[in-house]
Symmetry: C2
Subunit: 148 residues, 2 copies
DNA sequence: GTAATCGATTACCTCAAAGTAACCAAGGGG
DNA sequence: CCCCTTGGTTACTTTGAGGTAATCGATTAC
């Protein structure tokens, strides 16, 4: 659960301005958690501000296993992005909701998600073109003969 | 190099609007590449628009190995985010520069990077508080006696 | 002659993240 | 009596992303 990179490796880096390009800057761990496999999707679901139950999250974020969903939510709770609210009942009810800090990630992450959704077509075309050109270059020269 | 998720698993999902929450939507692969470990940092360095040499990239993005830098750049070239420009000389010179598509990722990714750099302090405080509260709950009850 | 440069590639290894499957308690419904 | 529910946990396995170190070829600088 705890992360090796949570601590600053180089003690001299402690009070310098944060810079993800700097190997020792702890902002790298923050960026990595934000870009964890499931975190952007979870934050997308929580973005409207309504509390969401564990099982509903599990259904909405398609393909996530309960183990990984729990782990990711714990990590986000530890970072202060979400609040876990337990209602003791049978069956138990647990809601997750954004903190103010978590809510401030919604805009940047939504922009990234929108970019991916808007440009998936162009990216796929680029990939096909690249793979085709790679194959051409490897198999034969323009005249149908093997390259020198 | 090629990616299993590059193809749509469910053929019926082909022409639906892109949605990262959908397990079969190829936009998920796009989002994942954008959030690859080194991609946001590489795009940060290329953001100004000037071509950047391989070795300069290697120096600026601290901690990246040549192998992984090559892999990441290839993947970004395949997706159409960067252009690789070779100048045959001795020693060889290779520049990388953003395509228009790549340039359009700069804003969203820079916003994410800025968030990480701006909030690293608060996140670290949250982590310390969470870990402290966890330790308290596990070790002793408020009266110094073991919990029932 | 030999060291350094650049932009890789290769083989190999490691480790953390993710996946799988089983199980839990405490009740309610059939 | 058995199974369903919720929100997990545990143990185990898999994967793949990433890291390490060595090497390359062609040339210039020392």
């Amino acid at each position: 659960m705890t992360d090796v990179m949570d601590q600053t490796v180089n003690p001299n880096a402690a009070q310098l301005p944060a810079d993800v390009l700097n190997q020792d800057c702890p902002s790298r761990t923050v960026l990595r958690h934000l870009t964890d496999r499931w975190a952007p999707m979870i934050l997308t679901v929580l973005a409207p501000g309504q509390p969401v139950r564990f099982t509903e999250l599990r259904r909405t974020v398609q393909g996530v296993s309960p183990k990984v969903l729990t782990e990711t939510l714990r990590s986000m709770e530890r970072d202060g992005l979400v609040t876990r609210r337990v209602t003791p009942s049978v069956p138990p009810r647990v809601d997750y909701l954004l903190t103010d800090l978590g809510a401030s990630t919604v805009e940047p992450l939504a922009a990234l998600r929108r970019w991916a959704e808007a440009n998936v077509g162009e990216v796929q075309r680029n990939r096909r073109r690249y793979d085709r050109e790679q194959a051409e270059g490897l198999i034969a020269s323009p005249c149908g003969q093997a390259p020198p």
